[in-house]
Amino acid sequence: AQTVTQSQPEMSVQEAETVTLSCTYDTSENNYYLFWYKQPPSRQMILVIRQEAYKQQNATENRFSVNFQKAAKSFSLKISDSQLGDTAMYFCAFMSVTGTASKLTFGTGTRLQVTL
């Protein structure tokens, strides 16, 4: 079974600064996807960034980028130029694809607070 670990329950960053959220996972599979989701107080789960395991290049979406280390099973999220609207819970998730099914396994989340 896959497991996803987020070792930082809470983090705080000042506006315009950079912050990195950590995530490690455990799997014996070679083909999988990794995700970072943002969940603001409104509870809507929003996809931030996605990484395919077979791609060596790290994914980037505007101010969000990842550091994907496949051998170390590490998948950290870097948020540059933090904004107040980035305040939310951030979940790291692993997705395996077997046959016709795919399921997401989530970590326990990191609560990020962006301050003035």
Binding site: F35, S42, R43, Q44, T98, A101, S102, L104, T105
Partner: protein, 112 residues
């Protein structure tokens, strides 16, 4: 282009009752998955539907059942509600084997 929609937004039920939650996937998506998110925790996978069949199931009892309709929309049914079933229920849609990047706003279920 409408995203994933869920209904109702909030629901209050009494222990022992039954509940049905509904989900319409994003246009072009054919796979629907359901997740339970207890307060302060990450979502837990309940099951996934594709081609009107349950394709994979998480560690949830048979009280949790579902259905997918020909238009790809889906229902989650929970029988004999327990206090511990109180949670946010999330629906996610995607295309077969292509991931589930799109979540609905969720249904908040409270069991009293």
């Amino acid at each position: 282009d409408a995203g994933v929609t869920q209904s109702p937004t909030h629901l209050i039920k009494t222990r022992g009752q039954q509940v049905t939650l509904r989900c319409s996937p994003k246009s072009g998506h054919d796979t629907v998955s359901w997740y339970q998110q207890a307060l302060g925790q990450g979502p837990q996978f309940i099951f996934q539907y594709y081609e009107e069949e349950e394709r994979q199931r998480g560690n949830f009892p048979d009280r949790f059942s579902g259905h997918q309709f020909p238009n790809y929309s889906s229902e989650l049914n929970v029988n004999a509600l327990l206090l511990g079933d109180s949670a946010l229920y999330l629906c996610a849609s995607g295309r077969r084997r292509a991931g589930q990047g799109h979540f609905g706003p969720g249904t908040r279920l409270t069991v009293t």
